[in-house]
């Protein structure tokens, strides 16, 4: 396959995963937080902390992918 064709497909693959990755990051963050809360009995603080981490991870991925593939 030609180089720019590969680039196009790579862009398509990357962009098609933006939405799900964003949602999954938040869900994983919250899930880790809830699990840690249950283990350490600190409800709800770790859930809130890891929820924020999850949102941050979602945005980090989004910005990284857009910078990488959006141009």
């Amino acid at each position: 396959m030609k180089d720019n064709q590969v680039r196009l497909w790579r862009q398509l693959a990357g962009l098609s995963s933006l939405g799900i990755t964003f949602a999954a990051s938040i869900a994983i963050g919250a899930a880790i937080g809830i699990a840690l809360d249950r283990w350490l009995g600190t409800s709800p603080w770790l859930m809130i902390l890891f929820f924020i981490f999850g949102v941050a991870a979602g945005f980090t991925n989004l910005l990284k992918d857009l910078k990488h593939w959006g141009s």
Partner: protein, 239 residues
Amino acid sequence: MEHHPTIFQIPNFLGVIGIYGDWVPEHIAMAWLVMAILIGVSHLATRRLEAVPGPVQNFMEVVVETFGDLLTQMIGPDGKRYLPLIGTAGLFILVGNLLGALPGLKPPTANLNTTAALALTIFLSYNYFGVRQHGIVAYLRHFCGPILWLAPIMFPIEFIGHLARPISLSIRLFGNIFGEESVIAILLSLIWLGIPYVIYLGIMMPLSLFTSFVQSFIFVMLSMVYIAGAVQVEHEEHH
């Protein structure tokens, strides 16, 4: 929705390990069918390797070369090391998706368990490749970002970002194939109306062939992107 059994069924012999029912679950039976097809074709292609290849060997050579070229372009000159993993995953998904387009068979990839197994394999593999390439300390340091005092914040963020990858891989493949399969099942259950037959042959059949190729290609492409990201950490940061 009415349940349509597939044509291909295997009597359940897995009762001893806790799987109930009269038949082996459909997605497992179909996954075995796909494996059998792949093993059979590979055996046919490599049984008598010749300098002037016959049709089967020729076809498989083209397939393998396509994967190899893609890997070289995406990962670098070292890319062909990952051909066994990527090629197997790609061919399994492609053949599974295409089988699903035939009426009476279900794609194994229309079940979240199959796609989750594939995505987990890719996830564990690319992390292993990264550790093998850089050593565990250097690989984990990449997770912490460039600034040292931000590391306690960056590490969980990167960690969650990496965990999101297998989820997005598995859910995208499952969702697309399952949705396509559901539409086909509904159309087939309405087939006495006549018109759905035209829709099935004219629209859904080409569309499902198209999604089969695109979804397996996207899965392979993303796996390569992840492996490339894990293997050439330093290289990525210069961009």
